[in-house]
Amino acid sequence: MSANIHDIHDQHHHTPSGLMRWITTTNHKDIGSLYLWFSLVMFFIGGFMALIIRAELFEPGLQLVIPGFFNQMTTMHALIMIFGAVMPAFVGLANWQIPIMIGAPDMALPRLNNWSFWILPFAFTMLLSTLFFDSGGPAAGWTLYPPLSLQGGNSMPFVILSIHLLGISSILGAINVIATILNMRAPGMTLMKMPIFIWTWLITAFLLIAAMPVLAGAITMLLTDRFFGTSFFTASGGGDPVMFQHIFWFFGHPEVYILILPAFGIVSTIIPAFSRKKLFGYDSMVYATASIALLSFIVWAHHMFTVGMPLAGEIFFMLTTMLIAVPTGVKVFNWVATMWKGSMTFETPMLFALAFIILFTIGGFSGLMLAMTPADFQYHDTYFVVAHFHYVLVPGAVFAIIAAVYYWLPKWTGKMYSESLGKLHFWLTTVFVNVTFFPMHFVGLAGMPRRIPDYPVQFADFNAIASVGAFGFGLSQILFVYILYNTLKKDVTADDKVWDGAEGLEWTLSSPPPYHSFEKAPRVE
């Protein structure tokens, strides 16, 4: 036994140092950190693009960029934020948390884990490099609808290849998550005893495996349409441009839940911890997550109500979409019931989680409105939609990620962040996120289409407010970087159980946890 431990330590000491440590690492914590840092960098790159967009939209008329470049910015902003910022952040959290929450030493497939991360920097370098091409980057929107995307310049094959790489990375990551969760849980941890974050990630991983290949298929057909003379999507060759949209959204809707289910898991972990009360309705949380995931495969065409579907199709997709409100509602009610008669305190992670519940629910409300086909004919492709999905993605997914970082950072590093700076970061972020995105509901309803570089003067006031909010939001995130820096240069002082109300195996480990998290599997009663 002691010889065994000695071996493990030896291995630890022989790990290369410096850059090679990070390139060759197979350790779940190192890889988790790589994912999280990568995501932070992408968040700033994507955010910088958003600020170019908002600066141009500050007032009517074109002042800064030409329309073609504006379209490249909206396209790249979405691709970077979805595939570069939010998804890698969740995978980073999965890497850090899954082994230490289920009582495992590491992820099941450590080498695969290394590879699935190291694909990303190459994929994004390739994607971003297209901005420097003479013909510019992709400009047809992240949805890449043909025939417009087929008109693109030389960037197109590079964009498609980088999306393929991102898909491979996601699928490998998902395989690893499933293998780890299904095989490496501590003895006694049955499926229905797993932490809820583990449940949401398990379901997300299955969604990834089911959805990413569909996207790969769609963009491969685009590639052959452009370069190999096929006409899957070109009407003049007998193809069907609408078929692309069906295939794309068959991926795209599950993708939406890939971006939000882990966030549900995080909020379901943080709310009980700071309410000092067990999560209300654990079983129904699991069933609700699973039903949302299943429903996500039969609602895709609500993204394309205006393409001229048969009436029966429109009714079907309207009703199934409305149905999603039921399990989502159950989740929100369960969170509120968890807080009810608790003993709440309001540390930074809790503040972000509470704001998540309110603001995500507002995004859910506009989602329910968008589900109603007759009204969607008006909402579709307007800023109302932009407001909706930013409410579920920014104060939704991104707030959950930030909450998770504050919640587990002391565990990861053994160092406590500054609570007062954390709260300042919370208030600045929450105020500015609403100043940015709330007015977009108004201009959208009043008739402002999305993806336009310039607009009629009647939309000027709310756009100016949104732009001010966006710069405030962006600058507030510099404070977040400072808080991280400030925390990391401190000494290790955090307790093993950082939060008195927190439950779970990760809090039984030291802060920071040992290199091979659980060398001996704990027993779960």
Binding site: T306, G308, M339, W340
Partner: protein, 266 residues
Amino acid sequence: MKNYLYMLALALPAEIMADWEVNMPRGVTPTSEIAYDIHMLMFWITVVIGILVFGVMIYSIIYHRKSVGHQPAKFHESTKVEIIWTVIPFLILVVCAVPATKALIMMEDTSDAGITLKVTGYQWMWEYEYLEDGVNFFSKIDNESNRARRLNSGQNVNNVDNYLRNVDNVVVLPTDTKVRVLLTASDVIHAWWVPELGGKKDAIPGYVNELWINIKKPGVYRGACAELCGKDHGFMPIVVRAVPKMEYEKWVTLQKDNRVAETKGN
């Protein structure tokens, strides 16, 4: 919380809000009115649910906090409550689904139209063909807007008449007539949308989509392309002038005379 602001905004006197339009226009067609009604129905339902849920949450935040000495309760499930808050939202949705489905059936019924207008989207203009009356023309952004919208044009767009919502050739349609609009495109996907005339529909190469409008009030209604169609997507406005039937007939005759004159001139 946010819903309250929203309500406040809606309740403000119209004149204050004139330049701060916050809601969907009710519009002047049966389809725009039904879209508005469904929109407002859903809006108020979400406001009520929001007040209830956020109300309970805020109450809990105020009274069930550690700093006021509240001790945590032990309960963590209740099958009864969980069933109730699964079933009630479901019933609310059924109540919403009925009028929405009816509205949809009405909106998609393009039969018995008086005239047919065929709209073709191009990068970046529209072509209009009046199938029964044999009139057709192209319509693109007016020159004044088109000059002012250039990067650093030096022009103050606030002084441009209907900036980005004005065209060279206006679509003229009769009021109180069911107009069937056929939509297609020649290059990429566009979407034809005039908010006050109801919802949009995509104009797709290789497809002919349909929608119908029946304008109840004479006037000029402005809209734009709503589906990203390339670099000048933001610059392909739509202007519809609705006039009484008599006047429409005169307009058609005039268009035909002009056409004859043009042909002769050539």
